[in-house]
């Protein structure tokens, strides 16, 4: 059965270093929750506290409402897939997968059957007798998953399990996680620094930075209403402008950039955004400086194969990067060109950070 996780005022300090600032977070039973952040952001620290491998400096961890803060890892109803997998090298695949069952004193027959089922779940039927050292990276990954899943945990913690796999295998295993989550129904908590993984798998995700939880929401919410500049940049919204004015116009949001008004439909948030991010793939450029809404100077142009990456100086409004499909790139444009900049539908993303008070 899936278990919910409640964190209250949870924090971890090492000496005078704060690895994790006090945070509150609820992860629902059966949810696929991702902690996304760069290295040193505190996401692995948080996972260790949930798993019981570390003790918080303050705050509590509860599973299904029961306080488990002081419960050691071996008595918590959750299992972890470690970053380095931590498969026991002196044991066969079967011994590895059966380890937790044997600790629970399940009968040999039950173990054998459950191991066979778990291996089938991760598409490794018949691998029981293999040595761990004789497996490929992807196969080891699957064994580590099977070893955790065979315990039928209420919570599965995944600590950057895809790091170190090549891109193809990564995508394959990523899809596997989604399938296994639907199949087992357990609460999955994934720690990663890869936003593709986070976006494609998560029901909700939390973005961490310097030991703080910057924003929690669905991937859609985070992409369309990033809480602050850091979150926006982290999810790939690199072009961030401070508009001259933002105002509400019915259900629309009106934004003034370089003296021109741009509208954002269906804006129902209570607060007004302090900043506006521009989606690079929704910016078009035309050779005629007066031919678009805005005008700008091309400061750099880089060919990336399927597209060009074009850095633009929007004349006092700020710097933005546009991604222009190679086939749509006007031939005459080169660094130093004055161009017209058109913002297509969906180009504007409000960054919900409050505007800094100006004196």
């Amino acid at each position: 059965m899936a278990i919910s996780i409640g964190l209250r005022g949870l924090c971890r300090r090492f000496g005078d270093q704060t690895a994790l600032a006090p945070l509150d977070l609820d992860i629902r039973a059966g949810e696929f929750f991702t902690l996304l952040g760069s290295s040193g952001s505190g996401k692995s620290t948080l996972l260790k506290l949930i798993g019981g491998f570390d003790q918080p400096s303050a705050g509590t961890v509860s599973f299904d409402g029961t306080d488990v803060t002081r419960l050691p890892a071996n008595r918590r109803q959750c299992n972890t897939v470690f970053q380095d997998l931590a498969l026991f090298p002196h044991m066969s695949v079967e011994q590895n997968v059966a380890y937790g069952l044997r600790v629970r004193r399940e009968s040999r027959a039950d173990c054998a059957q459950k191991v066979a089922e778990a291996l089938k779940l991760v598409a490794l039927e018949g691998y029981q007798r293999r040595a761990i050292t004789a497996l490929s990276g992807g196969q080891r990954q699957r064994v580590a998953l099977a070893r955790s899943l065979v315990m039928e945990p209420g919570i599965l913690l995944l600590d950057e399990p895809l790091t170190g796999l090549d891109e193809r295998l990564r995508q394959q295993m990523r899809d596997e996680f989604g399938r296994l989550h639907r199949k087992t129904g357990a609460t999955f908590v994934l720690v990663t620094h890869n936003q593709d993984e986070a976006m494609s798998l998560s029901d909700r995700m939390g973005i961490m930075h310097h030991g703080r939880l910057e924003q929690v929401g669905t991937p859609f919410e985070i992409l369309h209403r990033p809480a602050n500049e850091f979150v926006a940049r982290f999810v790939g919204l690199e072009s961030i402008l401070t508009p001259e004015r933002v105002m509400r116009d019915g259900e629309r949001l009106a934004v003034m950039i370089a003296g021109q008004r741009f509208d954002l439909a269906d804006y129902r948030e209570a607060a007004l955004p302090g900043k506006i991010a521009l989606r690079s793939d929704r910016i078009r450029i035309v050779a005629d400086p007066g031919g678009g809404g805005l005008s700008g100077l091309v400061t750099a142009l880089q060919f990336r194969g399927l597209h060009y990456e074009c850095s633009l100086d929007l004349r006092g409004a700020g710097h933005v990067t546009a991604i222009i499909p190679s086939v749509e790139m006007p031939r005459t444009i080169s660094p130093g060109s004055e161009v017209g900049v058109i913002l297509a539908d969906g180009a504007l993303v409000p960054v919900m950070e409050q505007a800094k008070e100006t004196a």
Partner: protein, 286 residues
């Protein structure tokens, strides 16, 4: 191919050193054990004789050799029983500065002479020694225990105390190779500390266990001081009987005994390596 040859060339001074300092003396011992005594020169002369080997069986020497190896093996096992928890404490429990202090505590006795170390046990185990006086003071015994000193018990105490660091360092080396996450994973799957110790930590430190045992076994088999200082009147050891036959200038016999012991020890190393994978201690796990 070129790279391999160059590697060999670069390693050749080392090889040469190992050959001259390590193998040459052993080869000489083996060769001389087949030579015979020449009264004319008061030295040995080239020959191919098994006389010396036949003499090993005399005067209860086999008994001394086997009991020496037995004592050495027991010392190895006892050192492991004491040293494993100590190494575990240093590796896992102690914080770094404390680990350093603990390791120092095991090393410092080595700064003193082994004679003094063995002798100091007399002060502890003797009739008027520390242990007997404590036991008497506490009223647990009415007269001093005699078997504490000049006995196999005392020899074993001396051997274990002398060679304990030699199990701790290989054990620490092998424990450093146990990924902390292996222990975390075991815990994660529900295992308590003892279960983790016996199913994960001990199996993964087998090479260190064997290396440590081997160090103590080999050195204890060759020891004489502890037996002479702490053993009873009839106590003997391989090195003592070798000393005795050297004193009566029976060099071929001394070499023959050495050769037999060497062969036995080599056999132990090879068999142990087959079972415990000693060389793994120096390999990278992947």
């Amino acid at each position: 191919m070129f790279l391999i040859r160059r590697g060999l060339a670069l390693a050749s001074p080392g090889f040469l050193l190992v050959l001259t300092l390590g193998f040459l003396p052993l080869a000489i011992i083996l060769v001389w054990s087949f030579w015979t005594w020449d009264p004319a020169t008061y030295w040995i002369r080239p020959d191919f004789s098994f006389d010396a080997y036949a003499q090993i069986g005399e005067a209860g020497r086999w008994h001394v050799i086997l009991s020496s190896l037995g004592k050495a093996a027991l010392a190895g096992v006892l050192c492991l029983l004491v040293g494993y928890p100590a190494a575990l404490a240093i590796h896992f429990v102690a914080s770094r500065p404390l680990a350093f202090v603990l390791m120092g505590a095991f090393t410092v006795p080595f700064f003193t002479s082994y004679l003094i170390r063995a002798f100091s046990w007399r002060l502890v185990l003797g009739r008027n020694g520390l242990i007997n006086s404590w036991l008497l003071d506490l009223g647990l015994i009415s007269e001093p225990l005699d078997w504490l000193l000049f006995s196999n018990f005392a020899v074993m105490v001396g051997l274990v105390a002398s060679y304990l660091p030699f199990v701790i360092f290989p054990l620490l080396l092998s424990m450093r190779r146990v990924e902390p996450n292996f222990i975390a994973a075991s815990q994660d799957l529900g295992a308590g500390f003892l279960r983790t110790l016996f199913t994960v930590i001990i199996p993964l430190t087998k090479p260190g266990i064997f290396a440590g045992f081997l160090f103590v076994f080999v050195m204890a088999a060759g020891s004489s001081t502890e037996v002479q200082m702490l053993g009873g009147a009839g106590a003997s050891m391989i090195s003592i009987i070798i000393n005795d036959v050297m004193r009566v200038v029976n060099f071929p016999l001394a070499f023959a005994i050495s050769a037999v012991v060497l062969v036995l020890l080599f056999a132990a190393v090879l068999i142990g390596n087959r079972i415990f994978g000693l060389t793994k201690l120096f390999e990278d796990f992947k």
